[in-house]
Symmetry: C2
Subunit: 355 residues, 2 copies
């Protein structure tokens, strides 16, 4: 199957080959070294500020989102949650569950957040945003958001689960206190690990806050991370894959080249569908994915035909968007030739009036 | 390296081969079918009572332990925690963190729990036990514990992380409300997934209890599991490995044959060290591991020599037992020939006065 979903995605051959052996025992200096390098490379790729740390949780991106809400925020905070789709909604649910005072800023599906929407919220203390709202494919105006947070001394927590390595992201420039991502998005490893980078401001808060959950404790992860270890048995194989992938990315020119590679794959696809009855949903699409509304046919049927007749996975949407939106991912080991296979399939479907 | 630790362990070749490809997209009927079969096979291997369910968390065993404490127990419970080592201690810490009323029954390291120690605790409502306390290698007298719980209407939660498939475990016979295990122990898959089987009594409690944590919510996992899905992106590859492994175990005669295979590996090892200055620590050792106290030399140095000179990993202990206890695992893809390699190494070390 050709996989154009937004995760798990196709992995490069050398990352895959790491997985094809038994997981090694990990309470060893060798594994510690790997983990310390993982931390260093992740922070480097993010251009994290001096004094930052990173931890690796054996959990999905949601686990990392919840961990940040539990460990970084406190009851004194007044939190802004940007909600422009199902992942923004998840941040709101997490604030509700953990009894944080929060204000939701709702964005219409696929519509850009404006400075005006943040007016009146200057007295808040933290802001949670899914830099790329993966459900609509929209990339938020992070410069504006970051500026707003800087001006008002607001702590910025960035879910970059599907944006890291796909869209421009400089942790220092953004002045982000925390950035989180997952192993199975543009990092193109198997799913099971989420990564959290923490600037000194977040580290201080984690240290001051009371423990809420042992398994998702950032404090514990940070303490163990000093010696390159995790508090509990991690998904060892995936951590080894991440190490290989980080090395590859750095040796190929770092974040910028990887973003450029993915953006070209996205561009080629978007160019290729120009004459097809597919409308790009978001105002400002992320490089990671193109969310599309089919103008003539239902999304579900298109997803089905691609899968069953062409051996191609694209991503359906859930809930009330299930039949009106489908998503084509550009992350993972996708080549121009793969793109061409998908575009040819879509053209053929169009000619036979099934698109 | 030959891996004799207690996890991650060596995987059989056909389980490993499942991991050597990109993770497939998982919001599909095919993956749902795999997961429904995983649930069915897990419950079958445990002989879980009618009406039981099982969920698969992308988390370590500790994640599953915490999930059970958070989701099954309530503030009204009076909990007994059997604490005979670092994993019993962890259950106590979890009860403390989540403000459950609990009584700790301390067992000396490697010593069996007796009925007398439970006297006076008949008014309690739940009991948490690590069936095999992996730090000391002791297998608790589960018949006695189960009998005590049955007589007094006490809910029994069994951490079988390192006991499942290694030691006799019949969920119906034990009348256990929950049994949990991990992917990287006798299941011999890569680490990253923990499994929780839930009898109707536990299901009712989960349904009645308020949500504490989104990521470790058993309620959410159960609801999604009905259609063979997980609430969040799981460690897809490991779930596919588990499926393969369950199929293999069932086709080779089920739990009994697997336990018998592991117990023979353990027996052969224990027989082989009879004349060496190594004392077996626990009164009643699990088949999964043999914890040993070296009588002449320090444990750390023995672990180091085996690793560096023989390419063999055995498991060091942590904390104050680091130099007095080492552990040799018998789970995973260990053959009699592998055992012989380890025994030859130990004999050679003994002859050269390094054991």
């Amino acid at each position: 199957m050709l996989n154009f979903t937004v995760g798990p995605v196709m992995s490069p051959e050398d990352v895959i080959s790491v997985a094809g052996v038994s997981a090694p025992y990990f309470r060893t200096p060798e594994f510690s070294k790997t983990m310390l390098e993982n931390e260093e490379m992740f922070l480097k790729l993010l251009n994290a500020p001096e004094g930052s740390r990173a931890v690796f949780l054996t959990a999905s991106g949601t686990g990392a989102m919840e961990s940040c809400v539990m460990n970084i925020l406190s009851d004194k905070d007044k939190v802004i949650v940007i909600n422009g789709g199902s992942f923004g909604e998840r941040f709101a649910m997490l604030c509700r569950l953990h009894r944080k005072k929060y204000t939701e800023v709702k964005c219409e599906f696929g519509k850009q957040l404006t400075r005006g929407q943040l007016s009146g919220l200057e007295d808040h203390t933290a802001l949670l945003i899914n830099m790329h709202e993966t459900s609509s494919g929209l990339l938020y105006d992070m410069k504006m958001v970051s500026q707003f947070c800087k001006e008002n001394g607001i702590l910025l927590i960035v879910d970059a689960i599907s944006a890291f390595l796909a869209d421009e992201l400089d942790m220092t420039e953004l002045n982000a206190a925390a950035v989180l991502t997952g192993s199975q998005k543009a990092l193109a490893c198997q799913p099971g690990v989420s990564l959290v980078a923490l600037a000194p401001e977040a580290l201080k808060r984690i240290n001051d806050n009371e423990e809420v959950c042992m398994y998702l404790s950032l404090k514990d992860a940070l303490i163990n991370g000093v010696r390159g270890q995790t508090p509990f048995t991690p998904a060892v194989t995936i951590l080894l894959q991440i190490h290989k992938r980080f090395e590859d990315i750095i040796s190929c020119g770092g974040t910028k080249s990887e973003i450029s590679r993915i953006s070209k794959v996205a561009e080629q696809f978007r160019e290729g569908i120009r004459d097809l009855p597919l409308m790009i949903v978001p105002e400002n699409p992320s490089n990671a994915v193109t969310a599309l509304t089919p103008l003539s046919k239902g999304a579900k049927e298109i997803v089905r035909i691609l899968k069953e007749e062409y051996g191609i996975w694209v991503c359906p949407n859930g809930g009330d968007k299930a039949d009106s939106v489908l998503r084509v991912g550009h992350i993972g080991h996708i080549t121009y030739e793969d793109n061409k296979v998908l575009l040819d399939a879509l053209c053929e479907m169009y000619i036979s009036k099934r698109l």
